[in-house]
């Protein structure tokens, strides 16, 4: 006898319940708190289907960084939150409900009647792991087999950051992102803001280091580092960098630049763009992953901080 199906059923119902609550909550802040709970529950779901790498990402980004991004927005909009708009008419809502139900049923049919045998690249991915000196296939896909995608994703992050920065008022260009940090008078809060970052930094570095053979990686580690940096900035323990700073921009670019340099070096030492030499793949992978983690951490932190809203002097 096994009780696991009961556990999974309960978890699935709980996720749906929290998602529903997030949807119908009257206040935005309450909905955001529901969303943070949703992100953590998805972490449990991913653990249930044995995708630990994804569970780490989802818990860190869904519950953590996206949650805080929305939390800040909700807190800023709240003092002037308009009276609830009149809801769209009942007929409209019923029609939309029917449409969404059809989409759900369609997806459910796909889930219930999948193709057999299931398509899988797992064996192909496993084949070259020894040559890369890696044990974690997800890391291998991200950093070796599909390295080009990962590199371009760094570019997407940069484009998003440029988008966020461009939305600031002209007069503050090059200044400090976000508003002045909160004046912390609560000793417990200061304690927490000083306690968490050292733990988080160790954990983030550990996630990067362990990712060669165990779940973890640059995204997960970078996100944890970003969260700790955001906390320190929010509590006023660290001033955010001016977005015009040259050192900052170099840091933002370092991940992509290393990727491109190693990529072109591949032509000379291994016979193709972004291919790794058989002799020392692991050293090169680490060489790419360390600046990549830093870039991810800094970019995510700045994405949450928002556009420049203060002068460099303030």
């Amino acid at each position: 006898m096994t009780l696991l199906p009961l556990y999974y059923g309960l978890l699935a119902l709980l996720v749906i319940g929290v998602a529903w609550w997030t949807l119908v909550a009257r206040e935005t802040m309450a909905a955001v708190i529901g969303f943070i709970a949703y992100g953590m529950l998805l972490g449990l779901v991913w653990a249930g289907i044995a995708s630990v790498d994804v569970a780490l990402t989802e818990a860190a980004i869904g519950g953590g960084v996206t949650g805080v991004l929305l939390l800040r927005a909700a807190a800023r909009l709240r003092p002037t939150e308009p009276a609830p708009h009149e809801k769209p008419g009942l007929v409209f809502r019923v029609l939309v409900g029917i449409f969404c139900a059809i989409v759900t049923i369609g997806l459910a049919v796909v889930v219930l009647f999948p193709t057999d045998p299931a398509p899988s690249l797992a064996i192909a991915a496993a084949e070259h792991l020894p040559a890369l000196e890696l044990g974690n296939p997800v890391t291998a896909v991200l950093i070796a087999y599909r390295a080009l995608d990962t590199m371009l994703e760094k570019v997407v992050l940069l484009l998003a950051l440029i988008g966020v920065w461009s939305l600031g008022p002209d007069r503050n260009w090059g200044g400090l992102p976000g508003r002045a940090p909160a004046v912390v008078t609560d000793s417990a809060l200061t304690f927490l803001a000083k306690l968490l970052p050292p733990i988080g930094i160790v954990f983030g570095v550990y996630l990067l280091w362990t990712s060669a053979d165990n779940p973890g990686g640059a995204f997960q580690g970078g996100t944890v580092l970003a969260a700790m940096w955001i906390l320190a900035m929010m509590a006023g323990l660290r001033a955010p960098p001016a977005i015009g700073s040259r050192a900052l921009r170099l840091l933002l670019l370092s991940g992509t630049i290393t990727f491109i340099v190693v990529g072109f070096a591949g032509f000379l030492i291994a016979g193709g763009f972004l291919s790794y030499p058989a002799a020392f793949p692991k050293a090169l992978i680490l060489l790419i992953e360390i600046p990549m983690t830093l870039t991810i951490a800094v970019t995510l932190g700045l994405l949450v901080s928002g556009p420049a809203e203060r002068d460099k002097t303030s």
Binding site: T2, L3, L4, L6, Y7, L10, L11, L14, V18, W21, A25, E27, M29, A30, I33, G34, I36, A37, M40, L41, G43, L44, W46, A47, G48, A50, V52, A55, L56, A59, A60, G63, V68, L71, R72, A75, R78, P79, R179, A180, P181, A182, V183, T185, L189, L192, L196, I199, G200, L207, T210, N214, P215, G216, Q220, V224, A227, I230, L231, M234
Partner: protein, 93 residues
């Protein structure tokens, strides 16, 4: 042993669900944020159990990650919703 640990996981998840339902209703946002904290510790407990049940020790790392980010989100919540700033009046609602 596996069955026992699974049962413990189910009971914890069920109580967390009951607690979530109560807290999310509010009325205070701080109380609602407590729901995330409750889910954080309940989730940590369930994940630790499932790390042993499934024999995947890496699941403990998810528990660490959730514990860390739940605390981060709560701290951010208190700072954003209740913190006073230099550039605005202190009596924010």
């Amino acid at each position: 042993m596996t069955v026992f640990l699974t049962l413990a996981g189910i009971i914890i998840l069920a109580t967390v669900a009951a607690g979530l339902w109560r807290i999310l209703r509010g009325p205070e946002d701080a109380e609602r944020m407590m729901a995330a904290q409750l889910l954080g510790s309940g989730g940590v407990a369930v994940l630790l159990l499932s790390a042993v049940i499934s024999g995947i020790p890496a699941i403990i790392d998810i528990a660490l990650s959730i514990a860390l980010l739940a605390a981060f989100a709560s701290a951010a919540f208190v700072l954003e919703a209740f913190g006073t700033r230099g550039d605005e009046p202190a009596d924010r609602p």
